[in-house]
């Protein structure tokens, strides 16, 4: 129990620190949103008009930093994230909610698939160490994961979309469709997400395979595995319940972290496939010095990672009784 309380304390302190850094970071960047606004209007707008726009956007350049900080914490707790400069006049919440489902759907699904597949392959490769399976799959995927993300993405696009025409070119669903719950629409979403997801899976699977295979090999040498064999348990049971269950523990935290980072999207994949997700939005927010949007996205990423890590801690406590007692 103490273990969980400690984790929760850690969670709250980290969250506060992240909120503060999140507040400071954009303000340490060169330039200001006021300048960005001026540039948007090509110097056509009078300083008074810019002042008016600043007020509309909630940029109070005349407030002290402490005032701004308190206001920021208050607004964040109330869930008021402000107005986006780059998507003016939309609110940050609207803009983020437009992109969030696509990113969570695409990158989230791809991350889970990569983790499950990678762990299984790593487990099997270690189980039959030196076999044909072990000799081919892990090295191939590890080499592929060393390739630049966007290179694989462009390659897939060129072969499967442009040349073979198997998959549609870009976007999250057919251009003229409206978001709805028909089978037809679901089919479109899958067809459009297939290549970007494939890219993410094949470039990230190598890491899971490698770590799982290595910890699995160590685990297989443990006495309790030998004991299980000696007892004559079925190989499947030994592989999953004895060796696998213990070998997966270090991977779990890594998986939780990467689930958290799903929110940050996959910038390059989204750009190559013209996919309307959060990764591109983050890039644009930084480019346009869109503080409100930047802060909201960073906050979501931080929160997602922290929650995922907390979840992993709980899961570890369930899977590994030692952590419960040690607390």
């Amino acid at each position: 129990m103490w273990y969980l309380v400690r984790r929760l304390e850690f969670f709250i302190v980290t969250l506060w620190a992240a909120l503060t850094v999140n507040f400071l970071l954009p303000r340490l960047m060169p330039g200001s949103p006021a300048e960005a606004l001026l540039v948007r209007f090509h110097g056509h707008v009078s300083p008074q008009a810019v002042k008016a726009m600043e007020v509309a956007l909630g940029i109070h350049t005349d407030q002290s930093v402490v005032q701004q900080y308190l206001e920021y914490i208050g607004n964040t707790l109330r869930g008021e994230l402000g107005v986006s400069v780059s998507y003016f006049p939309l609110s940050v919440a609207t803009v983020v909610m437009q992109a969030l489902p696509w990113t969570v759907g695409l990158v989230g699904t791809a991350t889970v698939i990569a983790f499950v597949l990678g762990t299984l392959i790593g487990m099997l490769a270690a189980w039959r160490r030196g076999g044909l399976f072990d000799a081919i799959l892990p090295p191939v995927f590890i080499v592929i994961s060393a390739f630049p993300y966007f290179w694989i993405a462009l390659f897939c696009l060129l072969i499967f979309s442009l040349t073979l025409n198997w998959f549609p070119l870009g976007f999250a669903y057919d251009l003229t469709s409206q978001i709805n719950l028909s089978w037809d629409f679901v089919g479109q979403v899958i067809a459009h997400a297939f290549l970007p997801a494939l890219t993410i899976v094949i470039t990230s699977i190598g890491g899971w395979i490698l770590t799982m295979r290595n910890t699995m090999i160590t685990t297989l040498a443990e006495d309790y595995v030998k004991m299980a064999r000696a007892k004559g348990l079925s190989p499947m049971r030994i592989m999953f319940m004895y060796a696998g269950r213990n070998a997966i523990l270090p991977n779990l935290t890594g998986f939780a972290m990467s689930l958290g980072f799903v929110i940050s999207g996959a910038i390059l994949v989204e750009i190559v496939f013209n996919y309307p997700g959060l990764g591109f939005m983050l890039l644009q927010a930084v480019d346009n010095e869109d503080f409100a949007l930047m802060q909201a996205l960073f906050l979501m990423i931080t929160l997602a990672v922290l929650v995922a890590v907390l979840f992993a801690d709980v899961l570890t406590a369930v899977l590994d009784p030692r952590t419960r007692e040690a607390g």
Partner: protein
């Protein structure tokens, strides 16, 4: 991945241009139908805001929904009556009277009238942030006269502002806009306009425009549906276009002959008409750029042709020192004067000019004055515009030969524009951030008329180099006070003379309107032979005119 389309995107935010309609395309009335898809990297997903005064999205509503009073073709200055049927300047050129077209209806069925026009201009006066063209810097009053006339009164004669007022201002419906509490921050998701299309559907990734069946030009438009997908980057947009999924492109394509034309030689075309200059700006308040001889030496020390070929792969032609775009504005160019000065790469001449100004080469081959100050400078430009970086490399190599040492400094666009506007630079590379116009007057005025400038540290809307020449300022005033074309030509020649003699700024290459099109299923495109409108989909409001000309071919 970064490219100059970014700049075009920026320009298109406020950008407008124009078009002459009364043309030619269809002797036989084409059938209505077809789905046209536009391919233009916007760098963002759609917000579905159709407020024409929001600089970021004006290109999605100006023209196609909200129409201007008169179309003024950016490439030829040919004017076509649009929501105004005629216009008339008072004898002293300080009053402009528009006669407003009768029988036009807003897309919600309400009648359009002179009141809407007056309302549009008054609203821009009330909310200066809406006045993207700064028309109220010259207007003093806009009022209705009779039932169908609108009178605009100017502080002093400002004839070239006709372009901004008549062509660039989108007329909006009073009965809708008067209900908005603050039009500057209003999100307009159900646009009501007089234009040829109405909003069909908008999602973050695509806007569908449907034909306005009760458009005031009978029978038009011929196209049933226009799709405008949102592309966040150049490469996916180019692939989409090359795959034939879109028919009308407006962006830079690397190796266009293999990447686009070769994909369908029978139907794919491109045309890149020049619309503005890409310049080297001297900060004339800083030594040695206050010296004419130094500026002239630079003009002789740059090989514009090789910058165009190596830096811009030949897509953007070399500029000339008058600042008059060729071939777009050939009729304005003073050929004799151009020949007399003969500005082309001439290291000997440049060197002798620098020596005449008191510079000698030091031991490391760099020119220095008697007190040892070397001609070593930093030139600022926008990070990510890879073609500009390549151009600057050529320029630096050129200048090295005349003993000038140039360091290129890439800055993010915010920093760059801020430094440019406030005069915080030695040398800068880039184009004007204000819009070009249908004659060379507009760009030249914003480049060298000190009225557009400001003190160092203040934001200037033009003349970033702080060049001050009262004689040339007077010439611009005189140009603005006359409607006599012959007189305008002769005044502009004198201005060109100043550009050649004084070299306040160096036009290096000419920026173009990127335009690609496929004749596979649609006809009626603007071409070099029939330049009825500026052809890029981000040329506003010209794209409306192009859409009115296009028709489906075949079945």
């Amino acid at each position: 991945m970064n490219s100059r389309r970014l700049l075009a995107g920026l320009l298109s935010t406020i950008a407008l241009v124009s078009a002459a309609c009364g043309s030619s395309s269809a002797a036989v009335q084409p059938k209505v139908g077809g789905v046209l898809t536009i391919d233009n990297e916007s760098g963002t997903t759609w917000t579905c805001d159709f407020n024409p005064y929001n600089g970021a999205v004006t290109g999605l509503s100006a023209g196609i929904f909200y129409e201007p009073l008169v179309y003024d073709n950016l490439l030829s200055d040919q004017k076509t009556p649009w929501l105004a049927t005629s216009w008339d300047w008072s004898p002293d050129n300080t009053k402009l009277t528009f006669t407003i077209r009768q029988g036009v209806k807003w897309s919600d069925g309400q009648p359009f009238s002179a009141d809407d026009v007056v309302f549009t201009f008054q609203q821009m006066k009330k909310y200066p942030a809406l006045d993207l063209q700064s028309v109220w810097s010259v207007l003093t009053d806009v009022s209705k006269s009779g039932t169908d006339k609108v009178v605009m009164t100017f502080g002093s004669s400002a004839i070239p502002y006709f372009f901004q007022i008549a062509d660039q201002v989108s007329i909006v419906p009073q009965h809708i806009w008067s209900t908005y509490s603050d039009p500057t921050t209003q999100k307009v998701d159900q646009p009501v306009g007089t234009g040829p299309f109405v909003l069909g559907q908008c999602t973050a990734q695509n806007i569908r425009y449907d034909r306005n069946t009760s458009y005031w030009q009978p029978g038009k438009p011929y196209i049933q549906t226009v799709n405008y997908p949102a592309f966040t980057d150049n490469d996916p947009a180019n692939q989409f276009l090359a795959a034939g999924q879109a028919q009308w492109g407006g962006q830079y394509i690397q190796s266009i002959d293999t990447a686009y034309i070769a994909r369908d030689r029978a139907h794919n075309h491109y045309w890149f008409p020049p619309i503005d200059n890409i310049d080297i700006w001297f900060n004339t308040t800083r030594a040695p750029f206050d010296k004419k001889a130094v500026r002239q030496a630079f003009a002789y020390g740059i090989d514009r042709d090789s910058v165009s070929k190596k830096g811009e792969t030949g897509y953007e032609p070399a500029g000339n020192q008058t600042g008059v775009l060729t071939p777009t504005f050939n009729s304005w160019l003073d050929n004799d004067a151009v020949k007399k000065y003969g500005y082309k790469f001439d290291a000997a001449k440049a060197t002798s000019l620098l020596q005449g100004a008191g510079f000698t080469k030091n031991s490391s081959g760099i020119m220095a004055d008697s007190s040892g100050h070397t001609l070593s400078f930093t030139i600022i430009t926008i990070a990510g515009y890879t073609d500009w970086d390549a151009s600057l490399q050529v320029i630096a190599d050129n200048l090295k030969q005349i003993g000038v040492d140039l360091t290129v400094k890439d800055q993010n666009s915010n920093d760059y524009f801020n430094n440019l506007f406030t005069g915080n630079f030695d040398l800068a590379y880039g184009s004007l951030s204000t819009l070009p116009g249908p004659t060379p007057y507009y760009e030249l005025r914003n480049s060298i008329d000190s009225v557009t400038s400001a003190d160092i540290g203040q934001t200037a809307s033009g003349d970033y180099g702080r060049y001050k020449n009262s004689a040339v300022d007077t010439l611009f005033d005189q140009f603005g006070a006359t409607t006599d074309s012959a007189k305008q030509h002769s005044i502009l020649k004198q201005i060109e003379g100043t550009m050649l003699e004084d070299v306040p700024v160096i036009p290096v290459t000419e920026g173009v309107a990127w335009y690609e099109w496929s004749t596979k299923s649609f006809g009626g495109w603007p071409t070099p032979d029939d330049p009825y409108a500026a052809p890029a989909p981000w040329n506003l409001p010209d794209w409306e005119v192009v859409l009115l000309h296009l028709y489906q071919t075949g079945s």
